[in-house]
């Protein structure tokens, strides 16, 4: 088991995070199915005010006394936010829930030169961790992926971020069209030379509603098949283990202690407030787990916040049954695994896991059960969909 990140100030299992969704991008990437929109001329003052107002709305709902373990600015492209907006959001979050020294504040950034110019401003606003969408280290693939930056720009941005932030991470996408294992190993080695404590390495997934999906349906885009994807994934694990950055989650690697605390809130099935268009939240209110969700369209969200204080849809109560499954589904993504007692508590006193299946899958080397702790092995994580299906009879 990995050493856990510093004890949460918040007493609820899994911690308590704040997610801020900035929905705007300079352009839409062909693989991205996130809630992102290209808009000319965003009224920054209105948006800033709306973000703060929706935070106030949720703050009034969250029981008093909760303390943040992390804040995350995601998107869209939050590095397009004016640093003043970031500062204002953090100031208000501090007011509601307290942002102490140990609290991780991450902002997602694109490595174009104009955005890199704002890094110092973000740091001054209170951001202490930068997560950069590098995606590839060669210009040809960056072009295929629809990215607006070049490889030299990416490397310059990484160098700049290193000088400003103690903690920073970047993302790469692999299993690209035509990618070979050797090419990926080479690219990954170069990435490791630049990485400090954290790397996110995602297999390219073709999501419905994206341009890549359309191309794939037409036969104009061919991505590596399951076997090649498996080879690429396994090669990734070997290199990252050698580099001392093992996977602490399916697609996330860190030196011990450098894990993303905010994302751990999700995987440990903690609570989080989500503000901004299309943001999701999970809150424990009067013993019930409630899923929150805001309107995805930026203009409608903005209007609703201005008129009623929030762009949120009606809450959905997550039933104990669903909680057990969600906690298992998220927890097994982590190398640290999940506690059966915790799963049982989430599921309202019933263990949601088929223990006969645990036995069977353990024999096949896909799971380990150590006392109360159920963990998917590296082999098991690589096939987690099948493992989960088998566990939930």
């Amino acid at each position: 088991m990995l050493p856990l990140t510093p004890p949460d100030a918040d007493a609820t299992p899994g911690g308590f995070g704040l997610y801020v969704h900035w929905p705007f991008c300079a352009s839409k990437c062909p693989y991205c199915d996130f809630n992102s929109h290209v808009r000319e001329g965003v009224d920054q003052a209105r948006w800033r005010a709306a973000m703060l107002r929706e935070m106030d709305h949720f703050a009034a709902r969250v029981p008093a006394g909760r303390r943040l373990s992390s804040v995350f600015f995601g998107g869209g492209t939050p590095s397009l936010m004016p640093p003043e907006t970031v500062a204002a959001v953090l100031e208000r979050a501090d007011h509601h829930w307290g942002i102490g020294d140990g609290v991780e504040v991450t902002l997602e950034a694109n490595p174009t030169s104009s955005e890199a110019a704002r890094f110092a401003g973000f740091r001054a606003a209170g951001v202490n961790r930068l997560s950069m969408g590098i995606q590839a280290l060669n210009d040809a693939d960056l072009k295929v992926l629809g990215r607006k930056h070049s490889a030299p720009e990416a490397m310059a941005a990484i160098a700049m971020a290193k000088g400003i932030f103690d903690r920073f991470s970047f993302d790469l996408i692999y299993a690209r069209p035509g990618q070979t294992v050797a090419a990926w190993q080479d690219e990954l080695s170069r990435a490791l030379d630049m990485a400090v404590g954290h790397l996110s390495l995602y297999q390219l997934t073709i999501e419905e509603g994206t341009q890549f999906h359309t191309l794939q349906q037409r036969g104009d885009l061919v991505v590596p098949d399951e076997d090649l994807a498996g080879d690429l994934y396994e090669a990734t694990q070997v290199l990252l283990n050698q580099a001392g950055m093992p996977a602490y989650e399916v697609s996330n690697h860190a030196r011990p202690g450098q894990e993303s605390r905010h994302n751990l809130v999700y995987w440990r099935y903690g609570d989080y407030v989500g503000i901004g268009p299309g943001a999701h939240g999970r809150l424990t209110l009067k013993g019930e787990k409630v899923a929150t969700r805001t309107h995805r369209a930026p203009e409608i969200w903005l209007q609703r916040v201005e008129e009623g204080g929030t762009g949120a849809h009606a809450d959905e109560v997550v039933t104990p049954d669903q909680r057990g499954r969600e906690a298992l589904m998220m927890g097994l993504r982590l190398a640290e695994g999940v506690s059966l007692a915790r799963l049982t508590a989430e599921a309202g006193g019933v263990n949601p896991v088929d223990m006969a299946a645990v036995d069977r899958l353990s024999r096949h080397g896909l799971l380990t059960l150590d006392g109360d702790r159920l963990t998917a092995t590296a082999d098991g994580r690589q096939r987690l969909n099948g493992v989960l299906a088998a566990l939930l009879e």
Binding site: Y202, S251, N263, Y266, H280, E326, R383, L384, N385, G386
Partner: protein, 627 residues
């Protein structure tokens, strides 16, 4: 006519045949003015269209009531262009000689599976029209049926249809009829049923060239039960051909085979509308009802006589039809089992040749083992269940009846591989053979010969007539039920026609081939095969399953075996990578719902040891086995 709604008399809701609305004046038709005939034709050669034209010409239906192929009342008959059940229709035709004749058309099925129905229909008639497509020529099924008609001493009038088409070669086809069948085709009637050309010539030929029936009005009643079916309103309706005597409403009748006595409450004929004329005289065809609720009380081929004055001897009956092909039918959704049982029961009401009994399979759950007259019969029942009863079915590989000669001298009939006795107790196994006739353009001969050889065929005859080859082969039936039709069609690009008759049993080196996944046998996939075919068949099935069974968390061995000996093996490697790359706060609900859906999907999986096999894999694997 504005008749009140009345129950339909025909078994399936179809064309306007309404009972009881034309109380007709009993008219005696003297025997010399009656002609009973059937039409023999290959599928698509125009039999139903010709029947339509004849009905239209004689005014049986007006233009509004007329629709395509009025005699094929089941949707499935009309769509596939085949006739499954026999029907009759009475036509009143005023001939050139000024006399009016009663023509009774007996519409017969054309397919080998329904040869039994053909023979019943032919027995009720004195003559046949042999309809041949003027460009396609004689086909295998035509041949089989025309020989049956000759066996029944029928007078046969050749009719060349579709002579209006540019590809028509009437002279060549006439020559072929003479060469292949040995019939004089010089005065064949040349028609186009589609355009209505020369329909009157057909009617004249029926009157002039076919003999009238023979019979005695004063003799004790003898009427042949040609067919019967269940009508939800009227009970059992019996189709009869009166030979001697008179059948009247109110008459007390007796079924000679079963001895049951009933009162005839409706007597009439079809025009094709049901007309209650109240009586049927010698030589006439028509229907009766007698308050019978169970179709099994009316044995087809039985003789109806008068209870008060019975005939001394019954008419010569028919050989009962027996199922020769068997398979399991299982509902895809286990909850549909009762619905399937009821549906099979309803179909059996009108199809005495169809048998079923409950069966349980580890792979497929609860279902029924069913017996059919042939592959087309199987396909039709399956299709009717799916369409008319809205059932989603899995069909196991068709099997034939094997005679297991045991070491203790007993003989067991077996058609389900699951019932295979311990091989140690078996002395030898006999399997059914058929005598098949295949007609085809000779450019495909090589391929078809190879197919027949591959299927253990023994060539009996090969002749060439009119640019076509006629092949006669002896083949084991179990090789034919295994995708033979499909192969025949694909090798000949659809130009070969095929017909067969049963040809007795012979000892064969037969073994039970089992399919195992990770050493667990999958009952639904086991088959009885000839030892020489086992390895090939086993390899094919294993390869197919390898494609069909999705990768799982661990490696799966798919094996075909005879006893403990593995004859084919494929390995399905373990799933390499199957995990969501990204799963963050916003994804939780969505991904959980995906997982819930996956869990739901597992209900459609069958567990064999640790291996889960989707039902769709069985369905697809079993498809390769049916015709």
């Amino acid at each position: 006519m504005n008749a009140p709604p009345t129950p339909r008399l025909r078994r399936d809701a179809g064309h306007p045949m309404v009972a009881g609305i034309f109380p007709d004046r009993p008219v005696m038709t003297d025997l010399s003015h009656i002609r009973n005939f059937s039409i023999i034709a290959h599928i698509d050669h125009g039999k139903s269209t010709l029947a339509d034209r004849l009905i239209q010409y004689c005014g049986g239906l007006d233009a509004r009531e007329m629709r395509e192929q009025v005699l094929d009342s089941m949707d499935i008959e009309r769509e596939r262009g085949i006739t499954i059940k026999a029907q009759t229709v009475r036509l009143n035709y005023k001939a050139d000689d000024g006399q009016t004749y009663q023509l009774n058309l007996m519409d017969t099925p054309g397919h080998v599976d329904f040869a039994y129905e053909v023979s019943r229909s032919l027995a009720a008639c004195e003559g046949s029209l042999l309809v041949v497509d003027a460009s396609q020529g004689v086909e295998a099924q035509t041949l089989a049926n025309v020989y049956q008609a000759i066996d029944h001493n029928h007078e046969i009038v050749p009719v060349l249809n579709k002579i209006d088409l540019p590809a028509a070669e009437p002279d060549r086809i006439k020559q072929q009829i003479e060469d292949v069948i040995g019939l004089d085709a010089s005065d064949a009637v040349m028609i186009s049923a589609k355009t209505g050309l020369n329909i009157k010539d057909v009617l004249e030929a029926i009157v002039k060239r076919l003999p009238p029936p023979k019979g005695e009005l004063d003799a004790p009643l003898k009427a042949l039960v040609v067919d019967s079916w269940y009508d939800p309103y009227l009970g059992v309706v019996i189709l009869v051909r009166v030979v001697d005597g008179e059948l009247k409403v109110g008459q007390k009748i007796r079924m000679m085979a079963t001895g049951a006595a009933k009162e005839a409450d409706r007597v009439g004929h079809f025009t094709p509308k049901a007309v209650q004329s109240g009586r049927l005289g010698p030589g006439e065809m028509g229907f009766i009802t007698a308050g019978i609720k169970d179709i099994r009380e009316t044995k087809v081929g039985d003789t109806i006589t008068e209870d008060r004055r019975p005939a001394a001897e019954p008419l010569e009956g028919f050989k009962p039809s027996v199922p020769v092909v068997f398979c399991g039918l299982f509902p895809t959704d286990a909850a549909e089992f009762e619905h399937l049982r009821e549906s099979l029961g309803k179909l059996a009401l009108n199809d005495a040749s169809f048998q079923f009994e409950a069966e349980t399979s580890a792979a497929l759950g609860f279902g029924f083992r069913c017996g059919f007259l042939g592959l087309l019969h199987l396909e039709i029942i399956q299709e009717r269940l799916e369409r008319e009863f809205n059932l989603d079915l899995i069909t196991t590989a068709p099997s034939v009846i094997y005679k297991m000669h045991m070491t203790d001298k007993s003989v067991i009939d077996m058609h389900n591989p699951a019932d295979m006795p311990d091989p140690i107790r078996i002395d030898h196994i006999d399997e059914p053979w058929i005598r098949a006739t295949i007609m085809l353009p000779d450019e495909y001969l090589g391929g078809i010969l190879a197919l027949c050889t591959e299927r253990r065929g023994q060539q009996i005859d090969l002749t060439y007539v009119g640019g076509r080859a006629m092949l006669v082969y002896k083949l084991p039936l179990n090789e034919v039920v295994f995708d033979f039709y499909d192969r025949l069609k694909s090798i000949s690009r659809g130009y070969a026609s095929f017909d067969y008759q049963m040809d007795g049993y012979e000892t064969g080196d037969l073994v039970k081939m089992s399919i195992l996944v990770n050493a667990e046998p999958v009952d639904a996939l086991s088959t009885i095969v000839h030892r020489s075919q086992a390895e090939h068949r086993g390899r094919l099935l294993c390869e197919r399953l390898k494609e069909l069974i999705p990768r799982q968390l661990f490696k799966i061995a798919v094996q075909a075996s005879i006893g403990s000996r593995v004859i084919a093996r494929e390995t399905i490697s373990a799933m390499r990578k199957d995990v969501l790359a990204k799963c963050y706060g916003g994804d939780i609900s969505r991904k959980r719902k995906l997982l819930d859906k996956q869990k739901e999907g597992k209900k459609r999986m069958r567990q064999f040891g640790e291996v889960e096999i989707p039902q769709s894999a069985f369905i697809a694997a079993l498809k390769m086995g049916d015709g």
